[in-house]
Symmetry: D2
Amino acid sequence: MNKKKIFNDPIYGLIRFPFDSIYEIIDHPYFQRLRRISQQALSHYVYPGALHTRFQHALGATHLMCRAIETLKAKDIEISDTEYESVCIAILLHDVGHGPFSHALEHTLASVHHESISLIIIKKIGEELNMDFTLVLQIFQGTYHRPFLHQLVSGQLDTDRMDYLTRDSFFSGVAEGIIGYDRIITMINVVNDHVVIEEKGIYSIEKFLMARRLMYWQVYLHKTVVCAEIMLISILKRARFLTQQGTKIASSEELDYFLRNSEASSSDLSNPDFLRHFVLLDDMDILWMIKKSVNHSDIILRTLCSKLLDRKLFKVKSVDNEVNRKLVADQKLKFMEKYGIDESETHYFFTEKTETIKHYETGDKEIMILMKNGEIVPYSHINKHLNLALENRTFLFYVME
Amino acid sequence: MNKKKIFNDPIYGLIRFPFDSIYEIIDHPYFQRLRRISQQALSHYVYPGALHTRFQHALGATHLMCRAIETLKAKDIEISDTEYESVCIAILLHDVGHGPFSHALEHTLASVHHESISLIIIKKIGEELNMDFTLVLQIFQGTYHRPFLHQLVSGQLDTDRMDYLTRDSFFSGVAEGIIGYDRIITMINVVNDHVVIEEKGIYSIEKFLMARRLMYWQVYLHKTVVCAEIMLISILKRARFLTQQGTKIASSEELDYFLRNSEASSSDLSNPDFLRHFVLLDDMDILWMIKKSVNHSDIILRTLCSKLLDRKLFKVKSVDNEVNRKLVADQKLKFMEKYGIDESETHYFFTEKTETIKHYETGDKEIMILMKNGEIVPYSHINKHLNLALENRTFLFYVME
Amino acid sequence: MNKKKIFNDPIYGLIRFPFDSIYEIIDHPYFQRLRRISQQALSHYVYPGALHTRFQHALGATHLMCRAIETLKAKDIEISDTEYESVCIAILLHDVGHGPFSHALEHTLASVHHESISLIIIKKIGEELNMDFTLVLQIFQGTYHRPFLHQLVSGQLDTDRMDYLTRDSFFSGVAEGIIGYDRIITMINVVNDHVVIEEKGIYSIEKFLMARRLMYWQVYLHKTVVCAEIMLISILKRARFLTQQGTKIASSEELDYFLRNSEASSSDLSNPDFLRHFVLLDDMDILWMIKKSVNHSDIILRTLCSKLLDRKLFKVKSVDNEVNRKLVADQKLKFMEKYGIDESETHYFFTEKTETIKHYETGDKEIMILMKNGEIVPYSHINKHLNLALENRTFLFYVME
Amino acid sequence: MNKKKIFNDPIYGLIRFPFDSIYEIIDHPYFQRLRRISQQALSHYVYPGALHTRFQHALGATHLMCRAIETLKAKDIEISDTEYESVCIAILLHDVGHGPFSHALEHTLASVHHESISLIIIKKIGEELNMDFTLVLQIFQGTYHRPFLHQLVSGQLDTDRMDYLTRDSFFSGVAEGIIGYDRIITMINVVNDHVVIEEKGIYSIEKFLMARRLMYWQVYLHKTVVCAEIMLISILKRARFLTQQGTKIASSEELDYFLRNSEASSSDLSNPDFLRHFVLLDDMDILWMIKKSVNHSDIILRTLCSKLLDRKLFKVKSVDNEVNRKLVADQKLKFMEKYGIDESETHYFFTEKTETIKHYETGDKEIMILMKNGEIVPYSHINKHLNLALENRTFLFYVME
């Protein structure tokens, strides 16, 4: 192993990690698999640069964690080497349980949250590399007695969010999403083992929250992005239906496992078969199935796959408009007639979807501000203009022939 | 079609093209295929951000072409709308003939230069979209009577190079490769229908040439990048050998076509079968084959594929060192014994490769400088320190068990 | 004159203007004077990089104007060459009436708004260069029959604001102030001769408004910046008092003119003496007076000047705190005693100041959005979270011995 | 004092220093004076953004020093806290002896190198702040037994150069000058108490040297920049001549001291009068004299000052051209006649100047490379294309009426 190995990150420049264990874990095939899991699924259909992967994100979030810990140490917060190393491993592996296309297929392939899968993979890597992950797991699960370490991995202002917002914004070319991670990290502190932000940093938080909101509406929930992901989900659903019916499709053995089984639930996690197939699954399995199905005998699968492959996407209309509703209804009838498709099968081509974002969470997960006078105040008490309402939007997505 | 469509490029920001035809071509499946052809093959094994594709590069080069043409028009060079549109289409499609992993497999899959394939695909797209590409083809081939248009597509300072150096440098995170395209474009002019650079721009050219050289040594010919590409080529060679021997491997029909046929030569380009299979081939076919072959019965294929997939790369040593040569020779013997492999098959795992770059070409392709006094002088006459020698380096690449 | 002259701007890169007249005006001494008028007065005491001048800002705003006009022409808005040239001259000269330290001394030296002074200087430049500025003046004053041209010079989303927010953010190093001018300009359109923003641009406007607000609180109204400017104003007031009393201070003839006369009012603008002295006045006159007065016999002037020169700034406390109020009151008494200063003179060293910002203006000046369906809707109807309230903060500023 | 004070640098972002002493020194009036000493004299006449000062540069270079020291400590080089603090103070104060307009007037005002003046000011600050600067002075003068500390302050790859090249390039907007300081610092190491660069960094050095050369030709020695500086020197020379003749000019007492005395030599450094006047002198004194002399009775001073103030610069021609030589000679005759000026006085308006740069120094100051095999090799042995020749250019500068 080469402790001095340097990664060249287009965002942060030269990155180096302070622990050998980090490099060993990166070399493990379960981690290398993240090179084949795109960070933003099909966003690149709208933002061509957004081809980055979970692999890069995991390295980036770990780098920010190192910077946060170094900053805290410079502020005289006591952090042991084992705590430092463990929080780094926890963030490095926080997304190792993501499946193909990350969130886009998260509840289609298996009805288990990716963090539950991360947990079992982390344990497995610990065993295989013969490393003691007790502390890593405590930090990851939030059971360690110093909560700030968990909060830096998973909170409203964690290094995960800081990296993905920065990274997604960078690769998408959406400048509105730049969050100023540098300034936020400079303002982090710890009081009574909880993360706080120094008062000077309140504008940086405001900017962070706003940038996050803009990233949601402009990128993650951009209607064309959502449309491509709806098509992807339709394809998977159809593939599962066909597989379970006994129709052969171009799926790998791993993918076949998830198609044959109806959505795996959390109880399946303990099944070694689940894990064995899961760690072999990546974007390639899905892309291959799509590419190979453009001439499939099933008209639904074939149509969906060839449209998605050549980027002939569904149309999208705002739902709160009678004219649109009528147009889509007419289109559906025409489509059924033309392709001899039953009403019950039209959901593959016609759907309505509501997207919701939560701007900020009060309560337990509040961002806490350390005032100059030493008081600690929830951010929502300081920023009176803070938007706490859920925002949502509904669209009709439909095929247009 | 939506003339106003805007692309969000992480490098240039919002991009819009002035011709409807550009958008029509972008929507064509042959062009959409470029989304699945990586620009820099396996560079991402060293530079994790370098996942960008030929699709982005083609859009970027076309954007720079628009900027160059607008600059020339502002300098009162007469350029007709048809010339403008045609040179844009020529640059948009200049790389449409690239196969999987671009240059890495260029002479392994088929022994034809990608530009020859581009030419036949351009013709085909013209026919399918019912567009008259006479002028496009003349510009692309350099037969049009105004050479500057061809020079902007393909020369020592063309918009192709300007984009790929900028783009590869951006996504790799190698700041040394920044070329300052903005300044170069500002300094472009045309005299007697030939591209010239205004005298003020000579430092920008110096920087451009130096940045290009650094990109070659630091990225394109980085020894670990070359190593990964050598492994990729070995895999393809073994796959072809097995296929022709009758051993089944996990290849798609398209890939199978290229494996069964020994390397296609230029005469094959007129064979409609060649084109039909080629336009369906992309990185997915190769990646799939690799992923599915990690358990193949052939030990050579299996070893190469699983090593490449999990990034267990060959070692590399400088050739001009007796100790290294000895070490590799010993390693080869051990390897033959351990795996029962014949000397004649060791080339899949042990090889020596020389990489060469040409810093600058004099002669016909010289960069010409327009001096303040109106004279036109070859750049090599101005820059006396210009390095005209070929530079090369040779390395041993070998498997280490 | 050299039409091809290129300016190198650290923000926009190489800038070139399309009209010879622009270059002639830049060369005029009244415009060159802007090289000696700092854009952000004493902000550099907090943000050391913020040394840029009105000269750079005027060039930058003119560059953005060219980009806006070119964008509109590409969208088929008819704009004549004379309109184009005139709107460029109007923006180039919009700030030519700024006096030393721009806004900081605007109402201390002369009680006239800088735009009124700009107006008379524009006329004067037109006469001296023998250029017909009829249309320039109409656009500048908002009397031309095509309001969009005035709106681009002076509105809620004009090229003045776009440049100064971008520029001040760049030189201050306050990343939160980045507004994304590029995207806003891309989204500008004109309907019925009024500026509108295309619907796609609403997030960019949100970001713009938020960035503007952050720039106000973090930079323009940063309490230490305000403090330095209060000290500067105190110095000017004391200098005027002494001058009118007959005490000699180190003022240039030009500055002396403004000190002797009590604050000039708009009626004075027609007095040729006013203009003659004004165009000779710049930051140097003030800085010199301060530097030369550190040993002046008047203890008030001397103390203020030496403190400001060596950056020994007043302290600042929040006003809504009884402890602070008491502390400042005590300090005042001590100070009076120590320096033998009368209560009526303490205002030079003790003051309270309220800063207010207006987030967004509804009514006439509304930003109008061009919806995809062609409707035009005020931005405040779309963004329900828009903060329309005035925000303000009050601080006590006081000398601490 | 406030140890936590953060500076906002447009280049490096938020800067914080690890020692209280740094903040104390920054607050000292001798250091605050650097706010009024421009880094690049009159470069802003060509590059309007280049208004930055020695103050910013000193902070920036100190920041890079901290980064370099932290990097070395992370590589297990032992550096004591006192060494760390002292090398920071040495770099912070390395330029404190610069006079008005930095290098431009360095040998006109006083014939002493600015480093000699820095030395006496450093001693004085140490005394006034009651700090022991023994080690600081050893490091500054290169007499400490660990040479790498001096090399980081002053060598071919010191943090001074790294900052000023980066900073001048940033504020000028000359992208060619970007040197990649980040990567260089990452590659710094220390062997036997000497600075070395790790082999991986050789391309970064190549880029550094090239960027430096481009900055010289494009910025520091840009002929219009040189022209403005020649005019400035002419003004000072004339002002000295007039002062010594008994003619009154608008000079401050400090400036007067330097005009009355013929160029101070190193022996004058021990004269307390010298230092007393020097620390009060800054750009303001010169600018004021120029501004106030535009109507002086001396035609030479008046003409030079008003031309420089309004940026009516001399013309420049290449010297190796008979036509140019003739033109300038004619112009000189006309000028003498028109203004009744004697041949012996024409040097104020007509001059010839040669500018020289040294690309790289071999010998003692060589950049040393630490090869992967542990050998240490001079950089000039590795880069065979390294340009070791002096480059120079000569121009005629002349007034044009």
